[in-house]
C-alpha cells in the first residue's frame, strides 16, 4: 500500500484518540493504508500541509479554517466534522456579576484571535451586542492571565482549558456555551486534498471508515484508548487525558453525533458560519460549500463504524 499520513492540529493527546486507536488497533492497516500520524503544534498549519500534499489527510481546525482555506484557493476538502457542538466556551468568575453573555458589555473579554474570535462575534451578535461594546483582547495559550484576573471573561475549550481550571482548583466560575446562544461551529474538520478525492477516492473512503471506527472503539474502550494515547505522546498526564477523552466524547456525540453518527457535517451551521464571517469582514466572498464540504464519503461509511 502507498504510504499515507494524517496531520493533527495539535500534539498527541486524547483530542485525537480515534486516530491513534485506529492506527494501534490496525484499522488503517486492515483498510490497506500504510499510515503515519504526524502531530501538529502552534506553528503547524494543517490546511497548508494537506493542500500542498505534504500530508495526505488532516484533522484541521474547523469550519472557519476550511472556509478561509477555500477562500485563499487552497485545494482542501472537508469530508467530516469531529465535534458536533462548539467546543469553545466562555468563562467568568461567579462573583464578577456576569450572569449572561449580555453582561459582557463593557468588559474585558479574551479570546483566541486565530479564528475562534468569530465564534465570539456570532455569539455577541446573537445576544444583541455590538462588537465595539465589548473590549476584546487576544488570549494567550495560558489561562494564567484569567486566573490573575487580567481578563473578565476568557475563552476555553471544553476538553482542555476548562479542565485545566478545574485541576487548578478554580471552581467559582460560570460557563457560557455558544450553542446556548444558538451558535454552532463544528471543529476538528477531517480533511484531504482535491487531488486525493479525484485520484484515490478509495483511499479517502478507507481513511474515513477506519478513523470513525477508531473513534467508536475509543469511546467504547476508554481506558485502552487513553493507554494508546499515553504511549504516543511523551510525558502526558493520564488524569488530564481521561478528562479530555470524556469531554471529547461529549462534544462528538452531541446532537447529530448520536442521531446521524460520528463525523456528521452540519451543513446548516456551516452556512450560518459563512454568512457570519462575511458579515464580520473575515471573508470577502462566499465559497462554494458543495465542493468545500463533501459529505459523499461520510454517507458511505457503514453505520456500524460510525453509529454509537
Amino acid at each position: 500500500a502507498d504510504p499515507v499520513s494524517v496531520r493533527l492540529k495539535w500534539v498527541a493527546q486524547a483530542q485525537f484518540a480515534g486516530v491513534y486507536v485506529a492506527k494501534a488497533k490496525g484499522f488503517y492497516e486492515a483498510a490497506g493504508l500504510d499510515m503515519t500520524i504526524n502531530p501538529g503544534g502552534p506553528n503547524v498549519n494543517v490546511e497548508t500541509l494537506v493542500a500542498s500534499g505534504a500530508d495526505t489527510f488532516g484533522i484541521a481546525s474547523g469550519t472557519e479554517g476550511v472556509l478561509y482555506a477555500r477562500e485563499k484557493k487552497l485545494p482542501l476538502v472537508a469530508i467530516g466534522m469531529s465535534q458536533q457542538i462548539t467546543p469553545f466556551a466562555y468563562v467568568a468568575y461567579t462573583e464578577s456579576g456576569i450572569n449572561s453573555v449580555k453582561d459582557f458589555k463593557g468588559k474585558r473579554v479574551a479570546t483566541w484571535m486565530v479564528g475562534p474570535q468569530y465564534t465570539l462575534y456570532s455569539v455577541l451578535a446573537a445576544e444583541g451586542l455590538k462588537q465595539d461594546e465589548v473590549n476584546i483582547v487576544s488570549q494567550p495559550f495560558s489561562m494564567q492571565p484569567f486566573i490573575d484576573k487580567q481578563f473578565d471573561v476568557a475563552t476555553v475549550t471544553l476538553y482542555n482549558e476548562l479542565n485545566t481550571l478545574k485541576e487548578q482548583g478554580i471552581t467559582n466560575i460560570k460557563v457560557f456555551m455558544p450553542d446556548d446562544s444558538g451558535v454552532t461551529t463544528q471543529q476538528d474538520a477531517i480533511v484531504t486534498s482535491e487531488t486525493m478525492i479525484k485520484d484515490k477516492p478509495a483511499e479517502v473512503q478507507a481513511f474515513l471508515d477506519a478513523t470513525l471506527k477508531g473513534w467508536k472503539y475509543a469511546f467504547e474502550h476508554k481506558s485502552e484508548a487513553v493507554d494508546i494515547v499515553m504511549a504516543a505522546g511523551s510525558g502526558l498526564e493520564r488524569k488530564h487525558q481521561e478528562l479530555m477523552l470524556d469531554e471529547i466524547e461529549r462534544v462528538m456525540t452531541a446532537k447529530a453525533g448520536t442521531t446521524e453518527g460520528l463525523g456528521y457535517m452540519d451543513m446548516k451551521s456551516i452556512e450560518t458560519v459563512q454568512a457570519d464571517l462575511i458579515k464580520f469582514g473575515a471573508m470577502k466572498t462566499p465559497v462554494d460549500l458543495k465542493s468545500a464540504f463533501d459529505s459523499a464519503f461520510w454517507a458511505k461509511v457503514p453505520d456500524a463504524d460510525k453509529k454509537m
Partner: protein, 249 residues
C-alpha cells in the same frame, strides 16, 4: 586547596543555586506558579524519566548536527565576507534581516520540504546558529595584524597561505566565541524545530508542558535544556583550552 578549587568550580555554582532554590522558595512562600519548590520539580522530572532521557538524546543529536552544519556555513560566510567587502556590504545586512524572520514564517515550507525528518530540525538549528559564527569569524579575521600580513606577503605567501597560517589562527579565539553563542541557538533551533510536528524530543515535551500549563514540567525541561546546553558549552570550552589558548594581540 582542593576544597577551594571545588568551591569555585562550575559544579559548585549549580549547587549554590539549587540550595538557594531549596531554601528560599519555602522561606518566602513563593507561589508554585511563579516558581515551584525544587523537590516538586525533581519529582515531576522523575515521573517522566524515560521520556526525558529519550527526548534528551533525540534533541542532542539534532542540536549537534545543526550546530556542526552552522559552523561550516557560518565560518564559510565569515571567510567570504572578509575576503570581499562587497559580499559583506551586500549580504551581511540581509543576514541580519533574516535573523528577524521568525522560524514560524517559513516553518511550513521546511516541513513541506523535509517532513517530520531530523533534517527539518537540523535546518532550523543551522539557520539560527550560523549568524553569530559568521559575524565573529568576520571580526576575528579582521583582527590579523597588518604588519604580520606584510611579513607573510614578503615570504610570497599566497592568499590561501595567508589565510591558513595567519588569519585563521588569529580569528580562532573569536570563532570560538561565536561557536559558544551558536551552540545555545542551535539547541533553541532544535527545540523549536520539534514544534513542527515531531513526536520525540525535549521540544515536544516542552510544548506539551506549555499547552497543559504544567509549570513544574516547564522547569524540568528548562533544567534539561540548560544541562544539555551547558554540556555542549563545556565541551567547547575544553576544546578552547586545549587548542586555542593564545591571545591575539
Amino acid at each position: 586547596m582542593n576544597a577551594r578549587a571545588l568551591a569555585r568550580s562550575p559544579v559548585a555554582s549549580v549547587v549554590y543555586v539549587a540550595a538557594a532554590w531549596l531554601v528560599l522558595v519555602p522561606l518566602f512562600k513563593v507561589q508554585p506558579r511563579y516558581l515551584p519548590p525544587l523537590p516538586v520539580v525533581l519529582a515531576d522530572g522523575l515521573s517522566v524519566w524515560p521520556d526525558l532521557v529519550a527526548g534528551f538524546w533525540r534533541t542532542l543529536v539534532e542540536t549537534v548536527l545543526g550546530f556542526l552544519a552552522g559552523v561550516v556555513l557560518g565560518v564559510g560566510f565569515g571567510i567570504a565576507f572578509s575576503a570581499s567587502r562587497i559580499m559583506e556590504r551586500a549580504f551581511l545586512p540581509i543576514f541580519v534581516a533574516l535573523q528577524t524572520v521568525p522560524v514560524i514564517a517559513f516553518g511550513a515550507i521546511v516541513v513541506i520540504w523535509f517532513g517530520n525528518t531530523i533534517m527539518a530540525k537540523v535546518v532550523i538549528a543551522l539557520y539560527l546558529a550560523f549568524f553569530p559564527i559568521a559575524v565573529n569569524t568576520l571580526r576575528g579575521l579582521e583582527l590579523a595584524d597588518p604588519q604580520r600580513i606584510a611579513l607573510m606577503k614578503s615570504f610570497g605567501a599566497s592568499h590561501l597561505q595567508l589565510f591558513l597560517k595567519l588569519a585563521l589562527p588569529t580569528a580562532l579565539p573569536n570563532i570560538l566565541i561565536g561557536m559558544k553563542l551558536a551552540v545555545a541557538l542551535s539547541l533553541a533551533g532544535a527545540i523549536v524545530g520539534e514544534w513542527f510536528g515531531d513526536t520525540v524530543g525535549l521540544g515536544v515535551m516542552l510544548l506539551q508542558a506549555l499547552y497543559f500549563e504544567q509549570i513544574p514540567r516547564v522547569w524540568v525541561l528548562i533544567i534539561a535544556c540548560g544541562a544539555m546546553g551547558t554540556l555542549l558549552y563545556g565541551a567547547l570550552v575544553l576544546l578552547e583550552r586545549r587548542f586555542v589558548w593564545w591571545r591575539t594581540d
